[in-house]
Symmetry: D2
Amino acid sequence: MEMRDPVDFQVRTDLALEERESFPGDGGEISGVSLREWHEEKSQVKFTEVKILDERGAKAMGKPQGTYLTLEAGQLAKKDEDYHGEVSAELAKQMRQLIVDLMKGEMREERGVGRKPEELRILVVGLGNPSVTPDALGPKAVNQLQVTRHLEQQYGDGFCRGRGLPVLSGLIPGVMAQTGMETAEILKGVIRETGPDLVIAIDALAARSIRRLGTTIQLTDTGIHPGSGVGNHRHCLTRESLGVPVLAIGVPTVVGAAAIVHDTVDAMIGALAGNMATKGMGDFVQGMSSDEQYALIRELLEPEFGSLYVTPPDIDEKVGQLSFTISEGIHQAVFPG
Amino acid sequence: MEMRDPVDFQVRTDLALEERESFPGDGGEISGVSLREWHEEKSQVKFTEVKILDERGAKAMGKPQGTYLTLEAGQLAKKDEDYHGEVSAELAKQMRQLIVDLMKGEMREERGVGRKPEELRILVVGLGNPSVTPDALGPKAVNQLQVTRHLEQQYGDGFCRGRGLPVLSGLIPGVMAQTGMETAEILKGVIRETGPDLVIAIDALAARSIRRLGTTIQLTDTGIHPGSGVGNHRHCLTRESLGVPVLAIGVPTVVGAAAIVHDTVDAMIGALAGNMATKGMGDFVQGMSSDEQYALIRELLEPEFGSLYVTPPDIDEKVGQLSFTISEGIHQAVFPG
Amino acid sequence: MEMRDPVDFQVRTDLALEERESFPGDGGEISGVSLREWHEEKSQVKFTEVKILDERGAKAMGKPQGTYLTLEAGQLAKKDEDYHGEVSAELAKQMRQLIVDLMKGEMREERGVGRKPEELRILVVGLGNPSVTPDALGPKAVNQLQVTRHLEQQYGDGFCRGRGLPVLSGLIPGVMAQTGMETAEILKGVIRETGPDLVIAIDALAARSIRRLGTTIQLTDTGIHPGSGVGNHRHCLTRESLGVPVLAIGVPTVVGAAAIVHDTVDAMIGALAGNMATKGMGDFVQGMSSDEQYALIRELLEPEFGSLYVTPPDIDEKVGQLSFTISEGIHQAVFPG
Amino acid sequence: MEMRDPVDFQVRTDLALEERESFPGDGGEISGVSLREWHEEKSQVKFTEVKILDERGAKAMGKPQGTYLTLEAGQLAKKDEDYHGEVSAELAKQMRQLIVDLMKGEMREERGVGRKPEELRILVVGLGNPSVTPDALGPKAVNQLQVTRHLEQQYGDGFCRGRGLPVLSGLIPGVMAQTGMETAEILKGVIRETGPDLVIAIDALAARSIRRLGTTIQLTDTGIHPGSGVGNHRHCLTRESLGVPVLAIGVPTVVGAAAIVHDTVDAMIGALAGNMATKGMGDFVQGMSSDEQYALIRELLEPEFGSLYVTPPDIDEKVGQLSFTISEGIHQAVFPG
């Protein structure tokens, strides 16, 4: 997660799910975007798969083409270890499928072709600032990872493969304000030197809705696109920029105060429009152009909430639990039976 | 700070300053409440003194009679050690005056009569949960305190007095969910056993406005009244409940998400009313009764923001700096030149 | 644990077990001291019960009369959650028995008479400095405790008793250098105000042998006697000083560097004496009077190791695990099946 | 710092100073090793410069050729911010000289030729495990560093140079057990991608003497040679392995328990030999061959202290202070007046 700078007003979300929800008429179709939802009875996890299929979909959603799979589990907010174990298992299952699909795409390049997840060389990267609690999710998850790559170096090439183990390595690259280097530079160097087949990148995300903080996990095969990926390719961590496929795992840990304001205005307009007495007003505001609505909200925002991000007071505990759920999910996805 | 429970919807603030601001017509007078504001040129600190003078004022403000002095310094948000030193000095000056005034009230009880702050026996209490970052302000401040009371026990009664030092002790009582005891019970026992003349209680507060987080310090001679002091006297830490005067130092570190929503609605109504085209709507909503407005906001709030508190992502650093500013302020207030 | 000050040279241990071992001829009997050892096959815990029966025993051991029960489990050093669970269960069993015995002694005072552990009002105290890692064991254990006493206050007297639950409260009083108050003063006040039947005090200990750090738990019905309890009654936390029985749980987390030196000298003398060629020397040193041996060791110690305490580099993790094992043990001991 | 594994018995030190002291006859000359000592009156810092001049010296010392400069300041153990400032200044002065000398050696390779420290591109690396307190010195120092390299990327090449600023970047690579990668691999990749002229590597060291913990800083132009650099070139961070010169800054934070035992035996032998009555024994043990002495000590060590490292209980605070002293020293060395 990179906190955006103060001039950036836009009410953004890193969750494709929330981007999708923001379209009017909710149930409707967006051209170039497919949507699939299902529940797991036992684990009470709700899955939402958003696929951005073409350029039109990418433009509408403001996100690159690819698959975005979201796991939602309200109970994740609670301190229930057994439940976290169930979510880890669901996460592992989905991650495994995404890895298999990602590596199929690599076939023509004859690297890691047809290998199972447990036969790959995988670099897990914990993005974010380890010193800022809501941003420390990725670093914490990598800290709990059981790496194996050094065993290959100690006991010889093929040591892991011979035992059906993945060759797992982990890195916490830090953030640019602390390193003076772009994460992509650090990763490119480390990848060239250590040769993984796949990168798994774990990051804290910004959501639009407070209730998603700490209860939602997003998997995507599109990599990491800080600042919404609109044009700013320098910072991307993707197949293109790194040379290996990138599976991204994200958990929302902050919301912009602007998002709360925005949602309130939306809800208020809805409430006004839904009430006979105030219907006229609600209709009126709904009838305002997008630009006019923007101007109104911007006015409401200044100068308090502009670029402020907020997080729940118990985020320390939440990040601790979820980083564990994710590292366990990775273990189950890549270590066989 | 005690997080209020989910059924509590009210948009509250622990700052008398913000309570005062919430009255319509802002500049107007509230019966039974006096207001005084001034700036210190050099330190760029803005002071606001709210005095609640009688029962009417207390009822209007929802807070007990007494003096509430607020220091605001936007720069406190920054990592400037020299500046924090200046604020500590301002804090010390005001605290010293408040202590002198408080102890005058004690005269007729012949305890600590006419003593200077440096001659008192003072117990500093760090309220809040040390494990929850935005609530750890008080505990952190007490951790940085230089206590002296044990020197009296080691080198004899009068050791501190003889050197013009206060007899300073410190306690971090924890929160009821962790101790199973009310803070007032713990303090009553410790006060009876160790006999201080004065309690200084440091606490994290809830504000209404995000921009006050980490930039504002409130001093009050009324003690601590969790849950707004409305009827719930069991939890109060006051002259009445503890038997010694209580100076409270508070810093806002969280805001209710409900406050953000509330302010947005307010601002939106204002914006609608200020615009020719939408004037009718704004006027209409303004014309709604208080109960109707409440019902509207409550509807907007559900189910997302109800009882949620939020805090800035860098609260860890902010709490670290401010706890130091406060402990330094106490040192300067009670240790002579 | 209170670090002793620099002039204190004596190679001390807080473990009665180690004190007992230090007597020459190891297997021999000490008048006034009984010894019993056994193993639990399944949990692989070794138990040693040292009972100091009379004044002679107390003088020989430098510890007050009473029962000292030690659980040793080398595997505790490892990160095996299941194993920690087994040790918690053993701990709970022994603790329960000790509590029953302690409360029998209270009979004639008609308080908590004949009650089961789950029917008592218990205050658990986490001694030590929460900011110094090896001393934070007690505070961390109390942080993980599930207190219930406040439920009585919320739902009425007898709420816990009616459900067969103990009335559990917890306190982290801090150390004198931070509070300016003696722990006994704080506890006396809190006990008077909140009325527990029993105090359980958790503390970090100093051991003589490095291999005991993090692998040993000592239970005793004699309370806490910092500075070896020799005359320094001001600091004691005992039935006498607090007015209620005190069960103490201790885990060694530091050793004095002096202890390492001392053991080396002992071992070296033994080695010399056991070797034909050097037998004369070993015998000679063994033949030195206790005072001469002291003088020799003191000379070897100066100026490096005098009062230094040392701890393993991974003490952070060890303290984390053991504090959990202990809080779980307490839960199992006082909450019924 | 890499903790050595259990079979490694040798009483090692990472300080050239201590290695030098270990030679018998202390004041005597070692062929191929020069020694220079001086005091700074004002800062009360003692400097010792050990130069290993040739292969013979390297073999005798068990360390590679080069310069080892040690700053000792007993007061560093205390919490005196002003004093830490003075030590930072001394450190900066020496560091600056070492950097100038190092870069002269680079002349023939036409990179960074004749540049002042403030004109170089420097990568500062914090070695060690951030989660293990005594090993976190390097990571903590890098966290406090003010990096600038990203400004070049934001405002254009030459931005820093134009202002006389160094191009500073920082990295916390983690340890192999957490990353599965050798630190050298990570650094090689990052160096290739980001092109620094110089690496400054900060590491926690193992000393032989407890009194050096937290009071000593070693600078060396030989880079990092974990495991004593004897043959194990895979792990080295040097001019040879990384392609750029490496200035290493180290602070001892642990000692082997074996070192304490070893020193005790030495001191005891000395004491015996110095005493008329026991002179024969001391002489006898001194007369033992090195192998026999080894065997004796090994016997004394087993099974307790073999590979144990120990650290002071307040290491947390010490590492916090020293990491700040070092990062300030680097700032002063590379940022112009």
